[in-house]
Symmetry: C2
Subunit: 149 residues, 2 copies
DNA sequence: CCCCCAGCTGTATGTCATTCTGTTGACGAG
DNA sequence: CTCGTCAACAGAATGACATACAGCTGGGGG
């Protein structure tokens, strides 16, 4: 699908607030409510908009400690079992196969450093993992969504 | 604010799909539409729900290459000017001050590896940055929102 | 024992999403 | 040049839903 400039404006608006009406949304980009609705419908149908969701405050939910963990592996970890094992650890928010100093990079969020320790233990027990290296986040400047413009 | 089990169920549901009606949402947790509405209103008012937003497909928007970049610094980078400088680089999606092998960890997304190179150049020009170390993402297992349950 | 209040249900109303119909403008074929 | 086609849009209609309101209930404190 081709995403033109108006579409990007709509995406930017919806990233800010997905609850605004199509009338308001249309005014912001100079279109009628119906035309806006049609464009948003197509963006959803084509998968550019994956879903509309809520952004939660991690701290309020007991996930105030963030860290990145590098996993070294003795076997190839790019397969489904590894993915599933990592998915099942609730603290793991992202998992990536990387090129560089390790095999896998995961981002974790826990309530306390004790929970972080427990998560590291869980990561060690994932098949293939031989060692971990943890980078603790002291302060987050910002975490935002992909820039659309 | 105290977040009880029903609240967490609501949050989980809304993370999946923030467009469903309060009636449907209420059925999922065993409440009336009005009571559900009231709970969600409070979750928003208290900041547990920061906003409702859309999740976009990075690839469709020309951000198919992801990487993590470690920044080494000669000066303290925990202040506002650094934050602003990093915010202004569109490819930078996250920026964290870390404890460990470097001062700052940023996550970037670009269309191509050439754009990644351009972003690295931009990062080098941020005040205080002395060197960078880049970890390129080969494949993402998953990137999800904070687990609420 | 009674009062109070948070949290709930059911209902009413105004707003908005969604659909439909018709218009306009760009484009290609004849 | 003209006609036919199609995509994109505006405006109006209707049906669903958010939101507000009036009462009900059960538990905790005075």
């Amino acid at each position: 699908m081709t995403v033109d400039d108006i579409d990007r404006q709509l995406l930017a608006q919806l990233q800010q607030d997905a609850t605004q009406s199509y009338a308001v949304l249309g005014q912001a980009v100079g279109l009628s409510a119906a035309a806006t609705h049609e464009r948003v419908r197509k963006l959803k149908a084509s998968g550019v908009i994956r879903r509309t969701t809520i952004e939660v405050d991690p701290v309020a939910l007991g996930r105030g400690v963030a860290a990145f963990v590098l996993l070294d592996a003795s076997t190839w970890m790019g397969d489904e079992p590894t993915r599933r094992a990592l998915t099942e650890i609730p603290a793991v928010e992202e998992a990536h196969i990387i090129a560089g100093p390790a095999s896998v990079l995961v981002k974790v969020r826990t309530a306390t450093t004790e929970d972080l320790q427990a998560t590291l233990r869980a990561l060690h027990q994932v098949d293939g993992v031989t060692s971990t290296q943890t980078v603790v986040v002291l302060e987050s400047f910002f975490e935002r969504q992909p820039t659309v413009m």
